[in-house]
């Protein structure tokens, strides 16, 4: 019950912050847009750098993501703003990989849905240090599979081909790692 109450409070806070700012962005409020940029550009930048590996391309992706946010704010339908932004950033970075002809469309995984509302907002309130420690606590093979899938833009089959592990093992590592991460972060929220 305590966890649920805490989560509910966090959800309300994040929802208020992001949705209020996004509502102002929809009304063409550039100050709200600047605040969103200042608070959230690092996660976009981080994803773009991890996926693309070079600053110029990552800056282009970061710029494209925030211009999309400004030009089409209605694409955010509410919920976990950071999660939505991370999906948009990852999709845009994979688009950049395609346009550079480094990988074919068939080799890259499906885009993460951007129109989907992610209801779990509590993670957005966690301190980045707590999240990093939770990630670092994962078994290396699970963390590696998750990072190859998210930042490497690899399907689970491609991960299996790269690591030499059976496909079923890779699938299980991804799910086990995500569940451990979920449990670890739930514990942080409770405190």
């Amino acid at each position: 019950m305590r966890v649920e109450l805490r989560k509910a409070a966090n959800i309300a806070n994040v929802s208020d912050d992001a949705e209020r700012l996004m509502e102002r962005v929809r009304a063409r409020d550039s100050v709200a847009f600047e605040q969103l940029y200042d608070e959230h550009h690092r996660i976009v930048w981080s994803i773009a750098m991890r996926v693309l590996g070079e600053r110029e391309a990552a800056e282009d992706v970061t710029q494209a993501v925030f211009m999309k946010l400004w030009n089409a704010p209605e694409r955010f339908v509410g919920g976990n703003f950071v999660g939505w932004l991370a999906r948009v950033a990852r999709n845009r970075a994979l688009d950049a990989l395609r346009s550079r002809s480094l990988r074919s469309t068939e080799e890259l995984p499906a885009a993460l849905p951007e129109e989907e509302r992610l209801e779990d907002l509590a993670f957005a309130r966690l301190d980045a240090g707590q999240v990093r420690r939770a990630l670092a606590a994962l078994p290396p093979e699970q963390r590696s599979a998750i990072e190859l899938g998210f930042f490497g833009g690899l399907t689970h089959e491609a991960i299996a081909a790269r690591t030499g592990d059976p496909l079923g093992t890779v699938k299980t590592r991804i799910r086990s790692g995500l569940r451990k991460l979920r449990t670890a972060l739930d514990g942080k929220i409770e405190r």
Partner: protein, 252 residues
């Protein structure tokens, strides 16, 4: 592993974005009919925000990236949002870089300009053009502005809360210790072109948390400006100043 356990694993891979488009479609079709897998997906999908948490030692992007993005949404963005290829010739380093790419292209064509290779070469040209644009972007914002702002031969004019920096036709406002404007307001720069009858709107901007703002004002025609001013205006900017400017600097 049971058949359904495999679907739960697939739901996790879908949440991570690690399925091919065809697999994603297949798993989504299953989620539509399976509450347990749908719940697993819903529990794990928000974790992308945690996975994407920046590493502590990640170097930040260029501070000029922020200026570039904000310039694109500013009221005067018509000038600033021209396609990169039309803005680029103002920058000498760009020309050097572009010339290198063109030389590389010519060399490549000389080596293998056979008919069957033309299609592939065209693809390479497009890729290289995109690379040139990307390079232009970076050179323009980061290198040139950084050089201009720190150059000993730049002309500097102290103003309230900062200085006007001019070099080779380019002009910037380099501001510090600026207070945040009232809620719903921004700072707006103004310029008076030589021969104009009234002051013209330029970029709107906000200082960062430390009160610092670097604002590009002119890309090539700083010499044609006779005055620069800054005032506080409503969000979105104004066509004419609506408050007393915090400073009006004569460049003559």
């Amino acid at each position: 592993m049971s058949g359904h356990e495999a679907f739960l694993d697939d739901a996790a891979a879908l949440a991570l974005g690690a399925l091919s488009p065809a697999e994603a479609q297949r798993v989504r079709a299953h989620l539509a009919t399976c509450e347990e897998c749908r719940a697993e997906y819903a529990a794990l999908a928000p974790l992308v925000a945690a996975i994407a948490t920046p590493e502590a030692d990640l170097a930040p992007p260029s501070p000029f990236l922020r200026e570039r993005i904000m310039a694109q949404i500013a009221p005067g963005a018509k000038v600033r949002s021209l396609p990169r290829s039309t803005r680029a010739p103002a920058w000498p380093l760009y020309l050097v870089a572009a010339a290198s790419f063109v030389a590389a292209l010519i060399s490549t064509f000389n080596l293998a300009a056979t008919r069957e290779n033309m299609s592939q070469m065209k693809t390479q040209v497009v890729a290289l053009q995109q690379r040139v644009e990307s390079l232009t972007h970076s050179l323009q914002s980061a290198q040139m502005a950084a050089i201009d702002l720190t150059s000993a031969d730049a002309t500097r004019m102290p103003v309230h809360h900062g200085e006007i920096v001019m070099r080779h036709g380019r002009m910037y406002l380099a501001m510090h210790d600026m207070p945040m404007p009232p809620h719903g307001h921004v700072y707006q720069a103004w310029v008076m072109p030589r021969g104009a009858k009234k002051i013209e709107p330029s970029a709107t901007f906000m200082p960062d948390r430390d009160g610092v703002a670097v604002v590009p004002i002119a890309e090539h025609n700083a010499g044609s400006m006779t005055e620069v001013a800054v005032s506080v205006e409503p969000v979105g900017g104004s066509k004419q100043p609506t408050t007393k400017p915090m400073f009006v600097a004569s460049l003559e």
